[in-house]
């Protein structure tokens, strides 16, 4: 386990370094003249040239790469040409809003995925409807769902607010930057409910597609689990179908869905940019959109590095957690050994299960 963890962490460092190189190269080919952008179009050619030298743009490529890398390591992403403030501060200002939205999206997505998967495994009308809903929902683009939700619940029904994080003038400013947490910390329940109220529509809209993707995977592994012998044993003990499904199968089937959820959390940092744009959420998406419109590549580089680092971190964490839960993953030597911590099968001797699994192979031999 420790060797695996060290290996993954080294790979993580390598990937982050690669990300910095990629962003640096993109900055090179973007051809955006930072000195010119800082001084404005009316500045004289000499002034721009002096500024270029000050900024070190005439140094060899490798020197610049090393300097950029060390700057990034110390948390300095440069100065945004659009806002004039350090990119790091801009990102720190808009990141909490994005994290709050993504947290809400994941809560809704996982809850909906569990419900959809359990219902869609069943037979009958409900199962059929859930299967159709999952395959329709998986191909609905987030902006369509968000748009439909806006038209129905804001324009026609007036149930939810359309834009922003809060409608209060004096929203609590707290240590975390997450409105829901900060308002609870300061004991301001009105602000808390207001913040949740603003979260419902964008979070639900953006959660639909991830929920369907997770539900699809979970359904697949649930069906595999339901075909195993221990399910028959549990049924023979007198447990109901629902009980077997929730208590015995769900834990065993969670692995692939869990790793997919990790990928989705990481991907949402890029994907929620679009939904943020729709509901004017003051997060990274808004910042990225404005930076792109102003061709402010320094800011875009900072956003790419921040989100990229979060993406890589989340994925590595999920891998480590999965390995901890199920030590068979990633090691061929003990593949197939039934020592999964998630498999709670006290009533079933291990040898019985192994006999059941290996029976067909013996028959062939």
């Amino acid at each position: 386990m420790i060797r695996f963890a060290v290996g993954r962490l080294l790979a993580l460092l390598g990937l982050m370094a690669a990300l910095v190189v990629v962003v640096f190269l993109l900055q090179g080919i973007s051809g955006i003249d930072v000195a010119r952008a800082q001084l404005g179009p009316t500045a004289s050619e000499d002034l721009v040239e002096t500024r270029r030298q000050e900024l070190g743009y005439d140094d060899p490529v490798l020197t610049r790469l090393v300097r950029y890398g060390s700057d990034v390591l110390s948390g300095d992403f440069g100065t945004s040409t659009r806002t004039g403030s350090p990119v790091r501060d801009d990102i720190a200002e808009s990141l909490p809003a994005s994290i709050e939205l993504i947290g809400a999206i994941m809560v809704v997505a996982v809850a909906a995925a569990l419900a959809l998967a359990i219902v869609s495994v069943g037979h009958g009308r409900a199962g059929h409807a859930a299967r159709i809903a999952v395959s329709v929902g998986a191909s609905a683009p987030a902006f369509l769902v968000a748009l439909l939700a806006l038209v129905i619940f804001y324009r026609n029904l007036r149930w939810f607010p359309a834009t922003g994080r809060t409608s209060l003038d004096s929203a609590p400013v707290g240590p975390t930057g997450l409105l829901t947490v900060d308002s609870l910390l300061s004991g301001n329940l009105q602000a808390f409910f207001d913040a949740v109220w603003h979260l419902v529509l964008p979070a639900t809209a953006a959660a639909l597609a991830p929920a369907c993707v997770i539900a699809r995977i979970l359904r697949g592994s649930l069906i595999v689990e339901l075909g195993k012998d221990y399910v028959d044993v549990a049924r023979m003990k007198g447990l109901s179908h629902r009980q077997v499904l929730v208590r015995h199968c769900l834990g065993n089937a969670a692995g692939p869905a869990l790793s997919m959820s990790g990928l989705i959390v990481a991907g949402l940092f890029a994907g929620s940019l679009i939904v943020e744009q729709l509901v004017a959420w003051p997060g990274l998406g808004n910042y990225a959109y404005r930076s792109i419109q102003a061709s402010d590549f320094t800011a875009i580089a900072g956003i790419t590095l921040t989100i990229g680092a979060i993406y890589l971190l989340v994925n590595t964490t999920v891998e480590l957690v999965q390995r901890h839960i199920d030590p068979r993953i990633g090691s061929a030597s003990n593949a197939g050994r039934p020592n999964n911590l998630l498999r709670r099968l006290p009533e079933l001797p291990t040898s019985t299960r192994r006999f059941g699994q290996s029976a067909p192979r013996d028959a062939v031999d």
Binding site: Q27, I32, L148, R155, A270, L278, Y289, T304
Partner: protein, 286 residues
Amino acid sequence: MTAPAISVPDVNPTQRRWRSRLSCFDLASLALLTLVCGVALCAPLLAPFDPVARVGDAFAPMGTDGFLLGTDDGGRDMLSRLLYGTRSSLVSAVAVVAITALLGTIIGAVAASCGGWIDSLLMRTTDLFLAMPAVLVAIAVVAALGPSLSNTLLAIGIVWWPAYARIVRNELVSIGARSHIVGAQLTGVSGPRLVARHLLPGIAPLLLITATLDIASIIGILAGLSFFGLGSSAPSPELGAMTFQGLPYFLSHPAVPLVPALGVFALGFSFNLAGDAVRPLLAANR
């Protein structure tokens, strides 16, 4: 899974399996895909108006003056724009997938057939690309090159080929151990002929299914990037961009942003359904 002890030879395997494994629902999915693609490709024949020209009053309601879906803020016919936009999304997505699949297949085939350090080098590079957040890198690439449709397609291609290289390489390595390949090698077939005649046909169904499902995702990503202002420029009909430009009017005229968004959904959905429908063919090949 374990192999059956005795395998029963099939007289005409391909035909029989096609018939028995495609249900009515699967055939309907394929028919839907054909219909959607046909309508999109025939946009110049079907569209009643010029998609970029002002042909009527702004925000004409649906069904008036021959504007079946009404007009947008610039007085342009929504139906014509929807048809042309769908065609543009379809052609772009298919082109990106075709090129990245070809490139990825070549790289994967080289890695699998050379082995050794070439294989390691190519696959480590692939892993590096696969570990990166694809959409984000694509956004950064487009932002660096400047927003335009071709740059967006290029950016998606750059982040997409490694998936194919990885799939093709792994599949080729696993097929290479099977008896019909060993048999072909024993009769003296080797090199490019072995790859082209014996190995690649084995991965064709997998590639086809992956590509079909990928077209669906790329249509979504492309629309998302255009929605973000990174696709084609203003007047040309592009579904994501149309949605974004219609956004300010969603309170008064919700159809203006909703119609192109629904177009993205219809296109992606029919590709997803078709991909699921041909999935059994993969099992038939095993």
